[in-house]
């Protein structure tokens, strides 16, 4: 089977202070990122947060108003896209409709004047790699969505790019195919050691794929961290809310190890805040069980989700909590009195 040809050239990427405005819209507002060679970073953010703009600046399709893009330390901000050696998979594939699968994948090699025999070899190796051997002579319109996606991927990696960029590549695929493709991309990326940026607005996708996640909102990077870090220790309200289900409150540190919420409720939580400091508090719904912080309340809503029950509980102290419990026994009816609890170490304070 094909492996990465030797002597090549996965690179590290560093962008700093990127600014980009479109008229009144600030699409990028001081974006800085470091991506190590061979790393897969996902950029996760809601629609309009500037993800595509960031990718376009890295690929060279847009010039930033300020800031620079460096690959292996070399400033490429002014380099045209054709000379950046970056493989990109577009949201809607952008396969050449008049070219066969083979010719699509051969395209970047032909642009580099690679000899015929070498092209033939690399194209068939790469098509094997994405499991599309035997489809060489088909046109893109004769392929399914997933197959087209694989062709786009093959075309983006066949020339051993220094960087691979994927802009929500699986947006149009059904869930099952999506999951297959996610694992596929992960496998390929690891095997080829490609430095990769993967854009998505699907947090599960981000969790499955990445080494690290950069959460983006309103043109700013909110947090860059490993997947567990992002989930367990989000840096702010936006990240806590955007990734996973969450109960978020705000309060003040009244004594070490205690946060008093706005409604007066005192929570025992592990944190390093100083007395008097205002802090955010995050409790993940699935972390409730036994614990020091006990909440008594009434079930407002209960949903059966297969593995778990999801309960919305109005607590007597005025808080409203979303809680997940293992689906055991009957589903609590609305109006049922319940007690739920959480340990101080399961509460994240930020």
């Amino acid at each position: 089977m094909a492996t990465r040809p030797t002597g090549l050239k996965a690179a590290d990427l560093k962008v700093s202070g990127l600014q980009k405005r479109y008229g009144d819209v600030v699409a990028l507002d001081g974006v800085s990122l470091d991506i190590a060679s061979g790393e897969l970073l996902t950029i996760l953010g809601p629609s309009g947060s500037g993800k595509t703009t960031l990718l376009k600046v890295v690929a060279g399709f847009e010039k930033p108003d300020a800031g620079d893009v460096r690959i292996d330390g070399a400033d490429i901000t002014a380099l045209p896209p054709a000379r950046r050696d970056i493989g990109m998979v577009f949201q809607h594939y952008a396969l050449f409709p008049h070219l066969t699968v083979r010719a699509n994948v051969a395209f970047p090699l032909e642009m580099r004047n690679v000899p015929r025999a070498e092209i033939d070899k690399r194209v068939s190796e790469t098509l094997q790699l994405v499991e599309l051997g035997g489809y060489e002579q088909r046109l893109p319109k004769q392929l399914s969505g997933g197959q087209q996606q694989r062709v786009a991927l093959a075309r983006a990696i066949v020339f051993n790019p220094r960087l691979l960029l994927l802009d929500e590549p699986f947006g149009a695929l059904d869930r099952k195919l999506r999951e297959t493709m996610q694992l596929e991309v992960r496998r390929l990326q690891r095997r080829l050691g490609l430095t990769t940026i993967f854009i998505t607005h699907d947090q599960e996708e981000a969790l499955v794929l990445s080494d690290r996640i950069a959460v983006m909102n309103k043109g700013r990077i909110q947090q860059v961290a490993t997947t567990t870090e992002i989930y367990e220790r989000p840096a702010n309200d936006f990240v806590a809310d955007f990734v996973g289900e969450s109960n978020i409150f705000h309060g003040t540190v009244t004594e070490p190890g205690v946060v008093s919420l706005e409604g007066g409720r005192r929570l025992f939580a592990n944190h390093s805040g100083k007395v008097g400091q205002r802090m955010g508090v995050l409790m993940r719904p699935e972390r409730f069980g036994r614990g020091t912080n006990v909440f008594a309340g009434e079930v407002k809503e209960a949903v059966y989700l297969g593995v778990s029950f999801k309960l919305r509980i109005a607590c007597d102290d005025g808080l409203e909590l979303i809680v997940r419990q293992p689906a055991r026994g009957p589903l609590p009816a609305p109006g049922t009195r319940v007690n739920v609890a959480i340990e101080p170490e399961d509460i994240h304070v930020f």
Partner: protein, 270 residues
């Protein structure tokens, strides 16, 4: 079956119109051409070298007009499709302006410009570029210039449409994969706009085959195209059956070109 034909009702006035003003005259004309139950007029049209020469002239002119329109029209259509909306509007006015003026007026205007003492010759004489007037009227080049002017919009519009339909993401993709501008043009734009090139060429060629006013006036009787000769048969020789036979041959040629074009497009689509 009834529902299939129901949709045809609103089209009946148009169909009647076509029948009365198009199909019926054509059938009458074909009747003329075989008057007396003989194919003699066709033998004459396709057998005598004088007339074969006219057929040849007609195809030759149509070919050159199409080629020149393509060479001028592609860059123009491309430019209109890729420039800013403001410039595109200005450009369109210039491209479409000829379509809004009568062919007759435009052809006379060319006579003023191209004649022996016309504007072009006088300017070039005064500038010292030439010492004798260049003949540009009553010859092949005069007819070409006039016809290209009239027919250019028919080439520009389909090409404009084809360029507009090229997905900008494909151009970005090609660029990102390392293609230079000239290669983006050759490998992406050109193949994807072939249908537009083809449609424009067929329209211009077919219209050229039957062109009358421009070759009649700018050819000065020396460049004889088929339609000009048909007119001569009707008004000067008063030989209606022969005129009808020539018309029928022109019609068949035109339909043949059109049918070939259709087949070609269909096989390209498949």
């Amino acid at each position: 079956m009834s529902s299939r034909w129901l949709g045809a009702w609103p089209a009946i006035p148009a169909l009647l119109l076509l029948f009365v003003f198009f199909l019926y005259p054509v059938v009458r004309m074909l009747g003329f051409s075989i008057e007396g139950g003989t194919l003699d007029w066709y033998t004459k049209a396709l057998g005598e070298s004088l007339y074969l020469q006219v057929f040849w002239n007609t195809f030759e002119i149509a070919f050159w007009v199409t080629l020149i329109c393509l060479l001028l029209g592609y860059p123009l259509g491309f430019l209109l499709a890729t420039t800013t909306p403001g410039w595109a509007t200005v450009g369109f006015i210039f491209v479409l302006l000829p379509l809004w003026t009568s062919v007759l007026v435009r052809t006379y205007a060319w006579m003023v410009l191209l004649g022996r003492n016309g504007v072009f010759n006088r300017m070039m004489l005064e500038a010292g570029l030439i010492s004798d007037p260049v003949p540009m009227l009553n010859n092949f080049s005069g007819v070409l210039i006039g016809m290209v002017h009239v027919l250019l919009p028919y080439m520009v519009l389909p090409i404009y449409g084809a360029v507009r339909r090229v997905d900008p993401a494909l151009v970005s993709a090609a660029e990102g994969l390392g293609a230079s501008n000239s290669r983006i043009f050759r490998r992406v734009y050109l193949p994807l706009t072939l249908p537009g090139i083809f449609a424009g060429s067929v329209i211009v060629f077919v219209l050229s085959l039957g062109f009358f006013i421009t070759p009649a006036l700018l050819g000065g009787g020396r460049v004889v195209m088929l339609a000009v000769m048909i007119e001569q048969q009707i008004h000067q020789t008063l030989n209606w059956p022969f005129a009808a036979a020539l018309s029928a041959v022109l019609l068949v040629f035109t339909l043949a070109v059109y049918a070939a074009a259709q087949r070609f497009t269909r096989s390209a689509d498949a």
